[in-house]
């Protein structure tokens, strides 16, 4: 019944949360292994063939950020961080450090599994020889070869900047992109952190692709963190 058999490492110090995560993973066919500390996680990461890591940022021994940095030295495996509600800065920092996504406690099993699926899909796509030439999300379609955007089969006129922004999201469907990351990708490394210019560009793009910019269907805002192109 299940089509997943990836090996997931669950790093979480609370047993109850760990239990329900493991149950949810098991119900989808994932294999899993757990660690209650950062040290334990790091030793499992070197000894076990882990495919994806679920990492609680509030670990008793090591800073979760430290674990991400260590893993990123040798592996591109998807990392999803779990954090408390008032840890926006930590979330953004973890994403910039190389984490793929984040979940805020309390989260539902459904949400968790959806995020894992997105992260895995993205990971495999990246590993594949090349990205698809045409990607469709809902009524929105991008053609990378022709540099064209279609909305409900109608060609949509976008500026080069808007196209760049949109293509960045299409290459990272379902992932949260931090404002810092987007600024770096679109405007270059030394642009700084003028988020207003990004907000203005985003507002313009939304007025073209969304029916109601304040109720976006495609690119949603993660307040305090960044933006995400919603898949389903």
């Amino acid at each position: 019944m299940s089509y997943y058999n990836e090996y997931v490492l669950v790093v979480e110090d609370d047993m109850q949360i760990r239990n329900f995560i493991c149950y949810a993973l098991n119900s989808e066919g994932f294999r899993y292994i757990t660690a209650g500390t950062g040290q334990g996680a790091l030793s499992l990461l070197v000894s076990e063939p882990i495919d994806l890591m679920l990492l609680d940022l509030g670990l008793p021994d090591v800073d979760g950020m430290e674990v991400i940095r260590k893993v990123r030295e040798w592996s591109e495996m998807p990392i999803i961080v779990v954090s408390a509600r008032d840890q926006d800065k930590e979330k953004a920092a973890a994403l910039d450090q190389g984490a793929d996504d984040y979940l805020t406690k309390p989260f539902s099993a459904t949400e968790l599994l959806a995020r894992i699926r997105v992260a895995l899909r993205h990971y495999y796509k990246q590993g594949g020889s090349r990205t698809q030439a045409i990607i469709q999300v809902g009524g929105l379609r991008i053609d990378f070869n022709k540099r064209l955007v279609y909305l409900d089969n109608q060609e949509l006129h976008v500026t080069p900047m808007e196209y760049n922004l949109l293509s960045l999201f299409f290459k990272n469907i379902g992932r949260v992109l931090t404002t810092k990351y987007i600024l770096k990708e679109i405007w270059g490394v030394d642009y700084g952190s003028d988020t207003q210019v990004l907000r203005a560009l985003m507002a313009g793009l939304r007025r073209k692709i969304e029916k109601n910019p304040a109720k976006p269907r495609y690119i949603v805002t993660e307040v305090g963190v960044g933006y995400r192109l919603v898949d389903e």
């Binding site: 609370d14 047993m15 109850q16 949360i17 239990n19 329900f20 995560i21 149950y23 949810a24 119900s27 509030g58 408390a84 509600r85 008032d86 926006d88 406690k105 309390p106 989260f107 539902s108 099993a109 459904t110 988020t195 207003q196 907000r199 203005a200 985003m202 507002a203 313009g204 939304r206 007025r207 109601n212 910019p213 304040a214 109720k215 976006p216 949603v220 805002t221 993660e222 307040v223 305090g224």
Partner: protein
Amino acid sequence: MNKYKNNPAIDGGLEKGNWKDEARCLSIMTGLLISATVTGYIFRAVDFPETNIVLVYLLAVLLTARMTHGYIFGILAGVIATGAFNYFFAEPYLALSVDASNYIVTFVIMTITALITSTLASHDKKKTLEAQKKEAETKALYTLTNRLTGAADLNDIADIAVSTISDTMSTQAEFFSFDENELTGKISLRQVPPKKQIQGNLTDTTEAGYSRDAELYDWPLYGRETKLGIIRIPKDRAETMNESQKRLLQTMIESIALAMDRYWSMKQRVRSNEETMRERYRGNMLRAISHDLRTPLSGIIGTAEVLMDMTQKDDVRYNLAEGIHKEAKWLHSLVENILNLTRLQDGRLTLSKQTEAVEEVVGSAVSHIQRSCPEREITVSVPDEFLLVPMDAKLIEQVLINLLENAVKHTLPEQEISVSVTADKANNYIVFTVADRGEGIDPVDLPNIFQMFYTSGLKHADSQYGIGLGLSICDAIIKAHGGSIEAQNRTEGQGAVFIFKLPMEGNESELL
């Protein structure tokens, strides 16, 4: 000498017992003159020249002037010495002859010598006295300062102040201390037996530096910022004080005020240290709460959801698990609300204001609600114009979420909920409106709806979802942004409306 007459404590009774003193001077003079006469006889017996005898007499006059005070004894000694020399040693012996002109010279010289010596001696003594007085003053001040340095509390300061002043001025003295300008303590100590109770109202100080009551003089103790207290001395004593005593008292009062200032600032420091400690404890406690309550609640919520997934919807166990899930979620939001409110009320939640796109914040709040209630339809309308407003996006999102959750709670699934944003360009405000078509707000509740722990109406008093923290948080957040929030019932048709305004960029005026 008059100058010190009223300062017996310092003058040490030097002017007292004049009779005894004069008798002493007289005996000194007599003794010296007799000795001189005896020596004169011895000199004559051994045939020394007369000049030597004159010198011996001169010495006697000099010593008299030196050892007595005033000019009288010196001059008297001079006159007597001349007479004695004339009588005993000048021819005719044992008789006074006035015709010998050379004796007149001797007499004049002796008198002049006596005068000069007396003057010098008196001057010298006066100097010594002054020095002694200064020393006594300095010593009194030094002792006062020294003792005040060691004072542990206000009572100590009061004791030291009163005892020093009453000792030095030999008077009754009273000490009053103020705490934030309130009269708190009255400490008095009397060194002389009280003839009558010191009474009187505290009066305002005149510009003279002290104020007078019917029977009392008040000297205020001024600190750096406020009046710290009062030193009170009976009128009869205060009025007999001379300039230097007043100066001394003023200096003492300044020392006392300084010591009190030191005491208060030390106390202030201790208090602010305690405050810091308390803040730290509070912060730690909040962190502990946030971790120790949120973590198990997340576990319960997740586990209950898994249990729901495991059972069929018609199974009674599904309902039980759903109950757990719902309650745990409610508890979780309560914990979050309490944490937020505590932070807001502490004033410790510093707004991280940035210019934010209004549509993004609204969109995020709406999608948050849609995630938990996907069946609800929420209409959203924002201006077509791209609006940037300075705000703490996370907090304004929280306000919108709270208002929307409130609307969801008070409406039936098919009833409309809407969010709209308009720009009030004239007044430079951005206006957010969250409206529903639910039962509306009871007019009785309208004035209190943003108050903490106000639960809507009596009919819901036992409702467990009634702790009205959500709206209090909205109120606190909006006020922290310099905006305003209000609740109304809709005029056309039923339903409630919540409207809040935030100042737009460049609008410095704050709504209250």
